[in-house]
């Protein structure tokens, strides 16, 4: 089942990606070629198989809940492109035209 242009646009929106018109065509073609290939998975009988969700045999252990030294607020914000007084500056989020 090939992806339509509208479906590709929907995937782009979910992915928070924007494309020019000619790019959409190219991505539509690439994705359809890849999914046609991937469809070979349907040849495999998996009716009796449980999905593998964890590759290690080890289970996660509980640990003591105590406070350890970690990055400071200043350190952790060092790479933010726009900030002031310990806050990240973004465009207006509430009360917009949307």
């Amino acid at each position: 089942m090939a992806l339509s242009r509208e479906e590709v646009l929907k995937i782009a929106k979910l992915s928070r990606l924007e494309f020019k018109d000619e790019e959409i065509e190219r991505f539509q073609e690439d994705l359809n070629n890849i999914f046609v290939y991937i469809d070979e998975l349907n040849q495999v009988d998996t009716s009796m198989v449980e999905p593998l969700t964890q590759i290690t045999l080890e289970t996660s252990d509980f640990r003591e809940d105590f406070i350890k030294k970690s990055l400071t607020q200043e350190e952790s914000m060092k790479n933010s492109p726009n900030q002031a007084e310990g806050m990240l500056i973004v465009p207006k989020v509430v009360g917009g035209e949307d």
Binding site: S15, L31, N42, T46, V49, L52, I55, T56, P81, K92
Partner: protein
């Protein structure tokens, strides 16, 4: 004199430094001189940390002069792939979206390298976010194969492999999600090890596909790779899947008899698309191992042909989720064209990511979306279980598996390949990631002047057995040469 020192192995340089025949500052200076003079030809490095490296080298020299205890890699110049963070240094996973990003902590592997006294020279080039087999998707431009400058070094750890082949550093760390250490190791004629999933902490490795990612070493020979494994392996509180399995002294596995070792040869890896000269090199290698007393056993891994499809559902799915963090707010590229928060996300991401990354985010978003999750993602998880089971069954009768690494030798930078053609490059390396198994690549021969490696796959946490057979193979293969740059 300079050339001769750069030809040495990590092990030999370490000995020379400890015996005070040479200082770390001297060798580190030589390494930078060589890189500054010649890396413009190969393009292994995306940034260098010269001042810091020389400062650290002098500190090691001082310790040695004072007779203080030093680590396993004391004073040895090494390199790290650009997707591993280090305090105060740039790290960008070869992506424009992380232009200017500076690490605010050391990745666990970086911390361990530093504690062992290694001198980190810089970060090596890679496919953007490790998505590729050619190192051509990097925002920094291409890296060239030191054996033939018109060809790719492989990928995604192309800069790591070329940095060893061009004798620029003595060890290099790569990461391997579907073959990204092993395929470039084969293309560049160096040794590369993808350890068992969980053997080496990924804390500080920029995540691509978290159920598949693993860090590992590339080096001139098996001994160097074993030495590096001694340094970087082990459990880490900061990577919840890192294993508590005990870490042996990997050097102890070298130079041992392999008489009676059972080597499985899977028929499914000798497909039609396999280059016949590569096939010949693999078959010759089998004969060599046989002559050392190894027992060769034909095996079947029936679900091998579905590994690439399984991978290209699971890896993009995980990537689409992992790369959601790049929103232009907390770090990385931020657009100047956004009117509102939604545009800030989408424009920052669209300007920052390259096409291959976008393609995989789109694939991953689609297979995880409502209505497609069961058909793609869950289906791939089920096939993953079958691929893993193939290996579990095979390993009941054998000790290791021997296969080709890639169906072709290094292709030309100018070759135009479709996404699927590139994805099929990884057909022999992907299964080990799907099953979480360790894989070692050792150079085995040359075809028209281009190197070809062979791949050994082992049981969980038995990297030692891989290194044992790898070192035995190296000996019977004979001395390996590196290209002149």
């Amino acid at each position: 004199m300079i050339k001769n020192l750069l030809k040495l192995t990590a092990f030999e340089i370490r000995e020379k430094i400890i015996r005070k025949e040479i200082t770390s500052e001297e060798i580190t200076t030589l390494v930078f001189e060589n890189i500054e003079k010649k890396d413009s030809i190969v393009g292994s490095f995306v940034n260098l940390r010269k001042e810091k490296a020389l400062f650290e080298a002098r500190a090691i020299d001082k310790k040695i002069a004072l007779g203080e205890a030093v680590g396993f890699l004391a004073g040895v110049p090494v390199a790290v792939k650009d997707n591993m963070v280090s305090m105060g240094d740039p790290s960008s996973s070869g992506s424009k979206i992380l232009e200017g990003y500076l690490g605010i902590y050391d990745a666990t592997v970086v911390k361990k390298l530093k504690e062992a006294g290694a001198i980190i020279i810089g970060k090596t080039n890679m496919d953007e976010f490790a998505m590729g087999s050619s190192t051509m998707t990097s925002c920094y431009g291409m890296t060239k194969n030191p054996w033939d400058l018109e060809r790719v070094p492989g990928g995604s750890s192309g800069g790591a492999a070329s940095s060893i082949a061009a004798q620029q550093v003595f060890l290099s760390l790569g990461s391997d999600t579907g073959g990204s250490i092993r395929q470039p190791a084969s293309f560049c004629g160096v040794v590369g090890l993808k350890p068992t999933y969980g053997r080496v902490s990924r804390y500080g490795l920029m995540a691509f596909a978290s159920s598949l990612d693993q860090i590992g070493p590339l080096g001139k020979n098996v001994q160097d790779v074993a030495l590096c494994m001694n340094v970087i392996s082990g459990n880490d509180d900061f990577d919840s899947v890192s294993s508590t399995s005990p870490v042996p002294d990997f050097l102890k596995y070298l130079n041992q008899d392999i008489k009676g070792l059972k080597i499985g040869i899977p028929e499914e890896y000798f497909i039609e698309g396999l280059n016949q000269d590569i096939k010949k090199i693999v078959l010759d290698s089998i004969e060599k191992l046989k002559s050392l007393g190894a027992e060769i056993i034909k095996i079947s891994l029936p679900h091998t042909k579905y590994a690439v499809s399984t991978y290209y559902v699971l890896a993009p799915a995980e990537a689409s989720s992992n790369l959601g963090r790049f929103d232009g707010i907390r770090y990385g590229h931020r657009t100047t064209k956004a009117q509102n928060i939604e545009e800030l996300y989408s424009k920052s991401r669209s300007e920052g990511f390259g096409d291959e990354v976008k393609r995989r985010i789109m694939m991953g978003t689609h297979v995880l979306s409502a209505g497609f999750f069961d058909a793609y993602f869950k289906k791939a998880q089920k096939v993953r279980a079958l691929i893993k089971k193939d290996f579990d069954v095979a390993f009941e009768k054998i000790d290791i598996i021997l296969t080709p690494v890639s169906p072709t030798t290094a292709f030309k930078l100018s070759d135009e390949k479709t996404p699927i053609e590139l994805y099929l490059e990884d057909i022999f390396t992907i299964p080990a990631n799907i099953a979480g198994l360790p894989g070692l690549v050792v150079p085995a021969g040359l075809i028209n002047g281009l190197p070809v490696g062979i791949q050994f796959l082992g049981k969980y946490f038995e990297e030692g057995t891989l290194l044992k057979v790898g070192s035995a193979f190296e000996k019977i293969r004979g001395e390996w040469i590196f290209p002149k740059i």
